[in-house]
């Protein structure tokens, strides 16, 4: 392969250059209007101001973040707690597979956020409709991944269990579930990303609080600086989530992931 060279200084330069160009075009040369693309300094100022100010949408950035987090975590946790065991049971018990999977396959191709309008009619604009929608979008990847994970169990491991006289349930707990664990964790991570996306969409459509609501309102009054602040918050929190989960994953998954 190629020589081992380290270009980390280029990476830092690249980010600095990006910010510099942005600054040059927007703040120095004033080539863009404030209502389409503000410069980095303006965005920074807005970000700091928005931490404590409730204008123009009635809540501080922290409050918006808190609201989004609360709902997405709630729905996600429900999705994991219900979806993962269901996927495991579907893969392990043939009867459940035969009868539950067709219905699951029916709702699976519908993206989570397409349920938003229906849930709003059924449960109103409040918390419940959003939690249910987030739950649905987290539920599907959890089921899918744990199902696939269990199916990867090696026959020879099951034979070992069988010849040692293990019961069906013992084999599920001691052989199939550990085999599936890496994929189950992937499902949990995908589900977290999906619920985070879904909550932003739900808040853009019907809400009075939350990051999605904030950026949607800011669009209405032509404040791209607030939109960009919101996007940064959404991106950073999303990245933090997946980093945290991969830390947990490395803790839980023992041995090598796959041999």
């Amino acid at each position: 392969m190629k020589k081992k060279e380290n270009y980390w200084y280029l990476s830092i330069l690249s980010i600095l250059a990006f910010i510099f160009i942005w600054w040059l075009f927007c703040d120095v040369l004033k080539m863009t209007k404030e209502s389409t693309l503000p410069g980095p300094i303006k965005v920074m100022e807005t970000f700091i101001k928005k931490l404590s100010s409730t204008a123009p949408d009635g809540a501080t950035l922290i409050e918006h973040i808190g609201s989004s987090l609360k709902i997405s975590m709630g729905g996600w946790a429900m999705g994991v707690v219900i979806g993962t065991p269901l996927g495991i049971c579907m893969a392990w018990y043939k009867k459940i597979d035969l009868f539950v999977r067709p219905v699951f396959d029916l709702i699976r191709p519908v993206p989570g956020l397409a349920w938003i309008p229906l849930m709003i009619i059924l449960f109103g604009i409040g918390l419940t409709s959003k939690i249910v929608t987030v739950f649905l979008s987290a539920f599907v990847p959890c089921v899918l991944n744990s199902y696939t994970g269990i199916r990867q169990t090696k026959d020879v491991h099951l034979w070992v269990g069988q010849t040692f006289g293990a019961s069906n349930f013992q084999m599920l707990i001691n052989i199939a579930v550990p085999t599936a664990l890496p994929l189950v964790m992937t499902g949990v991570r995908v589900a977290l990303g999906a619920s985070w996306t879904c909550i932003v969409a739900a808040e853009m459509l019907a809400s009075t609080k939350g990051l999605g609501y904030m950026i949607q309102q800011a669009r209405g009054i032509f404040r791209p600086d607030i939109i960009i602040c919101g996007m940064i918050a959404i991106g950073v929190i999303g990245a933090l989530f997946s980093w945290l989960l991969s830390l947990i994953e490395n803790r839980i998954v023992r041995g090598a992931k796959h041999i």
Partner: protein
């Protein structure tokens, strides 16, 4: 030896699937007919008949197949552009270290932002028309595919490259005969995910701002309190989503025969 996960015979599968789906629909119909839920939610029979009639009678200005066509055309244009650019950027990033060092940090900053969060900004930038939708789908496809093409190049077996070099291949030959073919499966995995994300994104974008398309159908259904229209829209979204995923897999099976047979 006994294979635990051997699939049931296909007739047995069909019968069970039939029973469980029918059971689900019956339960739905019963709940709607005999409980208070019926005041809010419409039953499967009405949804089905509405779905069929909307092929002739327009919902809003278009019939259902035209709504689907609108959404699909948005996805296809954005997806084609996004995946083409994504594949090129991803492969370049994977093959040239300098490009990797320059582009990847920027990419990593943008990547965690879900496409849906770009909706407000894209409307400000590209207006309410098609431009903003193409941009969103482009972004959705680009992010997913770039990462996969990149990891595809990165995961090429160095032994293969060594073997080719030993046989006298130059850098360009190594790239075209070894690196490209071995990252095709990764690229397809990316395309598979990206087509799903793109479809979800177009629905979201149409819900936020549009005058036609499946996303518009369901959000208008919400405005007029018509669960029939929402459910017809959801059915359409589900069917198209399913067809998109299946055809993606079919194309992959055609192009990567060596992988499918191995499974």
């Amino acid at each position: 030896m006994k294979n635990r996960f051997k699939d049931a015979a296909s007739y047995e599968k069909m019968i069970c699937a039939g029973i469980s789906i029918l059971g689900f629909l019956c339960l739905w119909q019963l709940v709607v007919s005999f409980t208070a839920v019926g005041e809010l939610l419409s039953g499967p029979l009405i949804v089905l008949s509405k779905f069929v009639t909307s092929i002739a009678e327009p919902i809003g200005t278009y019939t259902i197949q035209l709504h689907i066509f609108w959404s699909l055309s948005r996805v296809m244009i954005g997806f084609a552009l996004g995946s083409a650019v994504g594949i090129v950027v991803g492969i370049l990033m994977g093959w040239f270290k300098i490009i990797d060092a320059i582009v990847r940090p920027l990419f990593e900053i943008i990547r965690p932002i879900p496409p849906i969060a770009w909706i407000p900004l894209s409307i400000l930038w590209f207006g309410l028309g098609e431009g903003s939708k193409y941009f969103l789908i482009f972004y959705a496809a680009f992010c997913g595919i770039t990462m996969n093409a990149y990891s595809g190049v990165k995961s090429v077996d160095p032994v293969l490259i060594g073997a080719a070099k030993m046989l006298g291949a130059n850098n360009r030959q190594v790239f075209t005969t070894i690196v490209l073919p071995s990252c095709i499966p990764h690229i397809f995995a990316g395309l598979q995910i990206a087509i799903g994300t793109s479809w979800a994104t177009v629905v979201a974008a149409e819900m936020v701002r549009s005058t036609e398309g499946v996303g518009w159908m369901i959000i208008k259904g919400q405005d007029s309190n018509s669960t029939v229209q929402i459910l017809v829209g959801i059915v359409a979204i589900g069917i198209v989503g399913y067809i998109l995923a299946v055809s993606m897999r079919a194309i992959e099976a055609k192009l990567c025969v060596w992988r499918v047979r191995g499974k």
